[in-house]
Assembly symmetry: C3
Amino acid sequence: MLITLLTDFGAADYFVGALKGAILSLNARARIIDITHEIPAHDVQAGAFTLLAAYESFPPGTIHVAVVDPGVGSARRPLLISTQRYFFVGPDNGLFSYVCEREQDVRVSQLTNEKFFRAPVSATFHGRDIFAPVAAALSNNVPPGAFGELIDDYVRLDPLAPVRDASAAWSAKIIHIDRFGNLVTSITRREVSGEEFDEGAKLEIGGREISSFRRFYAEEAGGPAGELFAIWGSAGFLEIAANRASAAHLLRAERGQRVRVAGLKS
Amino acid sequence: MLITLLTDFGAADYFVGALKGAILSLNARARIIDITHEIPAHDVQAGAFTLLAAYESFPPGTIHVAVVDPGVGSARRPLLISTQRYFFVGPDNGLFSYVCEREQDVRVSQLTNEKFFRAPVSATFHGRDIFAPVAAALSNNVPPGAFGELIDDYVRLDPLAPVRDASAAWSAKIIHIDRFGNLVTSITRREVSGEEFDEGAKLEIGGREISSFRRFYAEEAGGPAGELFAIWGSAGFLEIAANRASAAHLLRAERGQRVRVAGLKS
Amino acid sequence: MLITLLTDFGAADYFVGALKGAILSLNARARIIDITHEIPAHDVQAGAFTLLAAYESFPPGTIHVAVVDPGVGSARRPLLISTQRYFFVGPDNGLFSYVCEREQDVRVSQLTNEKFFRAPVSATFHGRDIFAPVAAALSNNVPPGAFGELIDDYVRLDPLAPVRDASAAWSAKIIHIDRFGNLVTSITRREVSGEEFDEGAKLEIGGREISSFRRFYAEEAGGPAGELFAIWGSAGFLEIAANRASAAHLLRAERGQRVRVAGLKS
């Protein structure tokens, strides 16, 4: 049984090792795969996006453990979410918001059965003491109903979907900036197609207009360095990229910044 | 059989890959788990602490390979340590000092049987050429006595335990600073309890006094940002943390810095 | 079956997780080992060197997937390379150049059989959509001939081997700088032996001469900090190192910089 990990623990501390050890102590055959441990500290929205971009690559039945947990030890609830295809384990703070928007048959339960926790539960490391042992128990075929009661008021982030504004443009956001400096927007193929950029569609960001669209990063790479263009990224969102350069640097862009798609015919 | 790795190799070089390949070449079924490869270069004390904080999470029988080895190729000895619960493989420079303080039935042997080494042994990479193949042989059920003779003069670091000073305060140290800026001290529940902070106990660091104690990071998080407090960390040590801020930045703290616990009734 | 990964994806993004998930979706038993994901972005030569330094540590039959791919989506070809001992999967841009120089029975084929690709293939992430599924198919014992036709005009980088100049010195290059600041040169035991440094051989770099040779880093470590010396590194190349210091900082060295070996008797 596969268990993936996504956290803000960083790679330099003992946290990741302790969490893995806690899983393996309960199921020595569990297969643990790191998605990332480099979510910015306490940045729930960043964790929610990265989980969304990676989780569907894994086979059905995978248990995704995600821990970005500034409220550890407080009244925030620990959750198990089961969907048609996957399990998710982690804190109730919006981290699973985007995957829940996309998944079918979402059932959310609050982890209350302490029989499945490490004893004693520390007040500062639920990754090791609650989420790891619950994931290990799931991988040992404990049924999801054994961990606690269903709830329906779990925490949701603002939805990712762009909204149409008064001038019929789509108002969207930068939701991620990757290591290459590409700006991932919340715009999908439901809002605009690549072809529409040939017909007058343009992206607006920070007073700039981008009307060029490419199919791949190196297309027309011989052109001027720093030329900005739109491109479909591999997570299904429209990205803003720059020819042989970092769009993030060129535009001094920040996550959360507004982006508009204007000039649409319909 | 589980083999964990803890090194100062960093993630960017070929070192970690080469070490893993050396293990898998001798035991294709070995399960390798990274604790961390981001111990600061040559920082034996940092490696010793991180190993201490992580090793007990793993199931009994786990083989812990740790390589922070500024003296590689010199006369410093390569070691195998077996205890009631675990095996440890790495250089004799104090790296296993803290775990040996905690473990029972500690037997330390010098690795001398070259039959278990990769040939030829390089003078610069014993991780790949000595420690990895010895760990692989152990995982293949070679008995610990086959690798070399027992010794008892292995290198020890200064003990972690705080000492009581003339004014009946505990004199301790910052032993680790984590990615969130929390300061891990060498103080444990043997020296002070959380309740004693309600009765006048206080932490002293760099001319500041900290008398507030919390059970979890987000307790009273609505208070002023930067408020300092003490808290039990997940490795069993008392930590100094700051409300929605980095205690390390606020206090300009450094590892090794002195901390005192004063105001104790007994 | 072992599959190793070497990329420039970084650890913070969803790319590595998505690639691993794509492999495991096709072969849930595949064993995936990270060599590194910290190759500098788009730096094909750095990727080629790190792969060269790590790949031979793995057991025969290992499938090495390497993705440093600035031309993703363009006409650059996707490759499968099989040699006497290993498989390699990745883009045709020189990334496998150095390993092909060293391996026997090199057969290179262009990946054209879309049956083995993830559908639809994105234009920006062939790691997930082409290289991962092909590696998974190989690990499921699909024969190498099934993926496409053999080619012989694959992209090669400049060879690593030093050349002899008019004054009978070897002209070589810095090919890598490791995290400890050691400068890995392209000089091997074919060009010079350690003993020849006792007989007048010297390294020349940036106007400096280095005539001291050590067998291990800590040899004569009691001498002045910053003393420069030559040493055989664990990848089989001569390195320039500094006593308890970073040779890279002291020499302001850069990868690609010229190095000469002069003063040879023959």
